[in-house]
Symmetry: C2
Subunit: 213 residues, 2 copies
DNA sequence: CCTACTTTGTGATTGTGTTCACATTCACAT
DNA sequence: ATGTGAATGTGAACACAATCACAAAGTAGG
């Protein structure tokens, strides 16, 4: 397959299509058009079609897409045909919330390992996962073959832990600290920065609307 | 001031500049160049300069930017010269984590009100905030003049609550449910969708690197 | 006051992602 | 068969954001 360059936003949308299609299918809609899917996802039909077209021709002209088979195609594309095992480092407020967050498992992700360095937490079990000593991160992650790690440690510890993760062979990191990570190019990093998001909302609510009127 | 169209990413970066500048200033760096700031933020100097240039000329050629005064300018621009009061709806795992998340307050945001509809939670105090009955959301938010609301309720309740928030006069919503919100254009909505982020990481860690080599 | 050096501010360029608009293809009725 | 209507798939156009590259404006030293 000659992979044209796929916009990175497209991948995120594919996941949302996957979610919406599952939902539509449960409601009994076996055939779905780009129009329907677009409405559910609040985007334009053309975007749906283009996103899918990067990976092949999955629809039938004049008809639409077969929901069940499209779901499978998308699962393959985004590598979610198998459950993804995830490790979590940092069992503070956010870490604990994520461990209890049952939705992940429904969507193909499973937190199978959790670490903290506080003796008072090590050994506890939160949401079916026992908290292990952070000192063992490298060894445990390396031997388990986990590629995706969620990082929810305090800011000052972030880059130190990130380095260990790199040594442990992690391929992707989802971090909740304001990104200060400089990782090699073969390691994917995404930062969730709530303050930044709120700052943008505040700014836009003062400015954006004015323009649209 | 003639406001050219400002990229929305720019606003997010301004907040990060604000953060980094505060840090540099504490370390005693009173004058900061676009190069320095760019290094700290892991972006290019030209981006820093262009971002700032949308709002005026804040630097001195041949020298750089005065950290203290630039911080103030940025604060004004992104409306963070005053603390922003925030309401939180939904005290589940994530909601509770956010209430305890002390960093917000350091960065200019303060959760001053929290709601849930579970009788077992109403009346509890988490992180200095008392949980109120969700039935009072509209009245309380309307009368308090809060514009920014964090939404951390289960998926099925999201759009119902969002409608109430709209009536209550909220201007911006930060939601943790997979976006199904269709709000009028004058209400800003940002969704944090962890599954989507993880799906992108998984995909990219399989594909992206191959191309870069 | 002039020269060498530094760093800003920005028009022009490049790059990336979204949207349009239409030819193509399929189902179905006649 | 053949025509009609519906929905896909996609090159081209557009919109937006990042980056370059250089003129302008400052400092410092003699």
């Amino acid at each position: 397959m000659i992979t044209k360059r796929v916009p990175s936003e497209t991948i995120g949308r594919l996941f949302r299509y996957f979610r919406s299609l599952s939902c539509l299918l449960r409601k009994g809609e076996e055939i779905v058009s780009s129009k329907t899917l677009a409405e559910v996802c609040h985007i334009k039909p053309a975007t749906v079609r283009k996103d899918l077209s990067y990976f092949g021709e999955f629809g039938t002209r004049g008809v639409g897409y077969d929901a069940a088979s499209l779901i499978n195609k998308i699962k393959k594309i985004i590598k979610l045909d198998k459950k993804i095992n995830v490790a979590l480092v940092g069992i503070g407020n956010i870490g604990r919330a994520l461990l209890k967050h049952s939705t992940f498992e429904l969507e193909g992700f499973k937190i199978v390992m959790a670490f903290d360095n506080s003796p008072s937490k090590i050994g506890d079990t939160v949401g079916n996962v026992m908290i292990e000593d952070a000192a063992n991160i490298r060894e445990r992650i390396e031997s388990s073959g986990i590629h995706l790690v969620i990082l929810a440690v305090p800011d000052y510890a972030t880059s130190k832990v990130a380095n260990v993760l790199q040594l442990a062979g992690a391929k992707s990191i989802l971090s909740f600290s304001p990104c200060g990570l400089s990782m090699p190019a073969d390691i994917q990093v995404t930062c969730i920065d709530l303050s930044v998001e709120m700052a943008r909302l505040v700014y836009n609510s003062c400015v954006d609307y004015r323009e649209k009127v």
